[in-house]
Amino acid sequence: MPSFAGVVLAGGRSSRMGTPKAALEWHGSTLLRRTTGILGRVTGGRVVVVRAAGQPLPELPGSVTVVDDPREGRGPVQGIAAGLAALRGEADIAFITSTDMPFLHPAFVRRVLRTLEEDEATDVALPFARGYRQPLAAAYRVTLAEAAERLVKEDRLKPAFLFEQCAVAQLDDDALLSDPVLDALDPDLDSVVNVNTPEDYDAARTRRAPRISVQLFGTVAKSAAKAGGLDGPGSPFAVRAATVGEAAGAIGLVFDRHVTAALNGDQITRDPEVPLAAGDTLFFLSADAGG
């Protein structure tokens, strides 16, 4: 089985936004924190952030690797080259994205990665979604690092130059949505919607947070039941929330040291900034679960 990693290109001048996109607030978290969290869910935590040398970043989980790109600002291929180079020997396939896609869904990432997983002869899985090629929501073999670096040296900085040199599988809307999970959770392929201007950002923020399911266990359930309204342990109810902290807030739960959360029954966390996506199930547990 090939191993996966995520790469987030956090540099770029954000000139049209007027303020660094990475640090933009997003439901109590930041856009960059969100993107790393979404990728980490698919890649088992392996995520690299490529930034301009010395660029300040919002707070990120300790598991995220940050690499400086000394020649930042020279376009996507430079970022792709830096990200892939950082993953040499660490992973086989990388999903590379920018930090400005707030609706990126893990199911989209999984769908794109699967193309390379299933077809060893392909080097790049390139979505053609919502009418555009999406080189910054695509999967690349880590072995492309050299080709990308060479292009940078030659000053040929458009992704198209890279695609000329390798085997690319283009995934149109239908191909993407042939994945029933993606079709159910992100039918409009909002995963590739990016925010470039303050207007984009404002519009994105007015969208309702994803619909998720929350279940409570242990003393957390007990106190919620006492407080009234909620059903007891294990019974699911729907809320809209883009982060764990927002979900806790939505049900009036104080997410303090007595409470932990498990996303889809997987990793256990105390971090309120863990991002949520449509279809998620979030468990709130007593921090002292166990005998």
């Binding site: 088992g44 935590g45 598991s63 279940q215 266990f217 242990g218 003393t219 359930a221 007990k222 039941a225 059903d231 007891g232 342990p233 294990g234 019974s235 007595h258 932990t260 959360a261 498990a262 996303l263 889809n264 029954g265 997987d266 990793q267 256990i268 966390t269 105390r270 971090d271 468990f283 547990l285 007593s286 921090a287 002292d288 679960a289 166990g290 005998g291």
Partner: protein, 616 residues
């Protein structure tokens, strides 16, 4: 003068004739081992002949008390029982609570060690320094609770009794009882490792104690102050789970996060968990009940051990007029582990184990293994199917009766049974060192995986609480490494102190600086000027003393390991994650554990340790 809280002596009884001697225990030993599990370990080193058959007359069975027993400190009324286990051939120590602890200590002894074998089924009677045995053949076949009542009836007021059920007694031709029999007092069990079998092998049906001595603490005012403070804290959020829900609340939680071992570890969550958490039952229990897992099955009472302000015991109705204490571990072992989702059957099976006097975890684990063997055609019992409630109750009866080949086989525990059955069935026998696994899935709890593998008593969640780290959200539970090793050591050390000084582990959450706070409690009682650092070292020494005992009794490096299944068969979570614990990872964590504990690369203690641990 012994230090406060101690008598400075143990009573050593010969079960053959009821005679006894006093063994003086010097202050250095008391300070190094505290009491409870620690002192019991020292006694076993000191009195148990190396290589002795755990079920032979030379074997030692020690009831040990502690400096805190009898003080007003909440949850301190506990005693430890320590012996060489007939399941593991290594040290086992189990704790039980209530008045037996206080009366046993106030016989004037820090420990009661029993050797020898009574000529026939007997009660050992300890009235202060006076000891004797009395015929108990009329109690043969009685449950521990019945025996307790009968002995108290015979002896009159003021007696406290620890007893075994029928499964711990020797059979008609003198063969030993079920290897995982328990010793019970007031409905609480020294449950793990077959201590009841050891007692039964000595032909002792019961041990009765009566208080006759007094013991002072060094600083009564200080103890009282500490007791008031602890009592206050015991009402706070750190113990809420135990007070409000009991440990059964774990069932749905563990199911949700794939840490609920199911069908002999073939899965890590159980589709029947919601059914089990929701007891069917009796209309009157439903009225005014609270929602959710305790709906319908809402307990009819809550109670607790003597001297406890938490009161974690949740009593449920089991059937017409019958009630039972329900804990996560017994529901796990007899429910999901055996694939059984009928709550009535699980509670009935649990009650049956109590009546027989056998450990529910070992019973459930061994039966689950047998169900898998039957499924694979390795044993000839096609009726013994996962999920079949009737089969569960039937096989428990066979184990208790010891009349059928299957019952006798399963009465030996999963390790011995797998050795008999062969055909690779050992690879899925759910035990470590011969002790069946508790309800914590190692593949999704990597700190706990290490804790279970290296523990001296075998697979056990009370001597290693490393799952706490896994569930804390502070580390990645699927990616065991150095931090998991440190967490496993820390919880092992904490358990060693709590089990020795003794305080109930359910109180652990109220301490913010545990070793320092515990050292202060011990100092108030004993008059020592103990520091947190000293107590931390004491903890590590107790853990090492247990390991040294096992080493003496034939421990091999391969004993610190987990069942093959857990290392070779990953589990897939609903999130899509494939959770695996490879042999390579486990080996790396064990190596780091040995290093941190100062053991050699094989895991053996340095011979010089015997001197340091006062074992030479």
């Amino acid at each position: 003068m012994p230090p406060g809280g101690y008598f400075g002596r143990a009573l050593v009884v010969d079960a053959a004739d009821g005679t006894s001697q006093t063994l003086e225990i010097g202050e250095p030993v008391l300070r190094a081992y505290l009491g409870g599990a620690g002192l019991g370990t020292w006694l076993l080193h000191r009195l148990g002949p190396p290589g002795a058959d755990p079920l032979g007359p030379d074997a030692v069975l020690a009831f040990t008390f502690s400096p805190l027993v009898g003080t007003p400190l909440t949850t301190s009324a506990k005693f430890a029982v320590v012996a060489k286990s007939p399941l593991t051939g290594m040290l086992t120590d189990a704790l039980a609570s209530s008045q037996f602890a206080i009366s046993g200590k106030l016989t004037g002894h820090d420990a009661i060690a029993i050797r020898g074998r009574a000529p026939r089924l007997s009660t050992l009677i300890i009235d202060g320094p006076a000891t004797r045995i009395a015929d108990a053949t009329h109690l043969a076949g009685r449950t521990a609770a019945e025996t307790d009542a009968a002995v108290r009836e015979e002896l009159g007021r003021g007696w406290r009794v620890a007893a075994i059920g029928p499964a711990g007694e020797r059979g008609p031709s003198g063969e030993p009882g079920v290897r995982y029999a328990t010793i019970s007092h007031d409905g609480r069990h020294a449950g793990r490792g077959g201590l009841g079998t050891v007692m039964g092998a000595k032909n002792l049906k019961a041990v009765a104690v009566r208080a006759s001595a007094r013991v002072a603490t060094a600083d009564p005012a200080g103890v009282l102050r500490a007791a008031r403070d602890l009592r206050e804290r015991s009402f706070g959020p750190a113990t809420e789970k135990y007070r409000e829900l009991g440990t059964l609340a774990n069932l749905l939680t563990f199911n949700a996060i794939s840490t609920l071992p199911t069908r002999n570890f073939q899965a890590s969550s159980f589709e029947g968990a919601p059914d089990l958490a929701e007891q069917p039952a009796e209309p009157e229990a439903e009225a005014g009940s609270e929602p959710g897992e305790i709906a319908g099955m809402r307990k009819v009472a809550r109670s607790g051990c003597a001297s406890c302000t938490i009161g974690c015991e949740h009593i449920y109705r089991v059937g017409r007029g019958k009630k039972a204490r329900v804990e996560y571990e017994n529901v796990f072992a007899l429910g999901p582990m055996c694939g059984v989702s009928d709550p009535g059957a699980v509670l009935a099976a649990s009650a049956r184990c109590d009546d027989l006097g056998i450990d529910t975890i070992s019973a459930g684990g061994t039966i689950a293994w047998a169900m898998e063997c039957a499924q694979r055609g390795l044993i000839d019992a096609p009726w013994l199917r996962f999920g079949d409630a009737g089969a569960l109750l039937r096989v428990l009866d066979e184990i208790g009766d010891r009349a059928t080949e299957l019952g006798i086989l399963l009465g030996n525990g999963s390790r011995a049974a797998a050795e008999t059955v062969g055909s690779g069935s050992g690879s899925f026998a759910p035990h470590v060192k011969g002790l069946e696994m508790p309800g914590y899935e190692p593949r999704t709890l990597h700190s706990m995986a290490l804790g279970l593998a290296v523990n001296a008593r075998g697979a056990d969640h009370n001597r290693s609480g490393a799952y706490e780290a896994d569930l804390s959200g502070d580390l990645d539970r699927f990616d065991g490494g150095d931090r998991h090793v440190a967490a496993a050591i820390e919880t092992e050390d904490r358990a060693a102190v709590m089990d020795s000084m003794i305080l109930c582990k359910f109180l652990r959450g109220v301490f913010t600086d545990p070793f320092a706070e515990w050292a202060s409690l011990v100092s108030d009682v004993t008059g020592w000027d103990m520091t947190g650092d000293e107590l931390r070292e004491t903890a590590g020494n107790i853990v090492m003393a247990k390991r040294a005992y096992n080493d003496r009794e034939g421990w091999r490096p391969a004993d610190d390991w987990l069942p093959d299944r857990l290392l070779n068969e990953p589990v897939t979570l609903p999130s899509g994650r494939v959770a695996a614990l490879t042999a390579e990872r486990l080996r790396a964590m064990i190596g780091a554990y040995y290093k941190a504990r100062g053991l050699n690369t094989e895991g053996r203690p340095d011979p010089a340790i015997y001197k340091r641990l006062l074992l030479d």
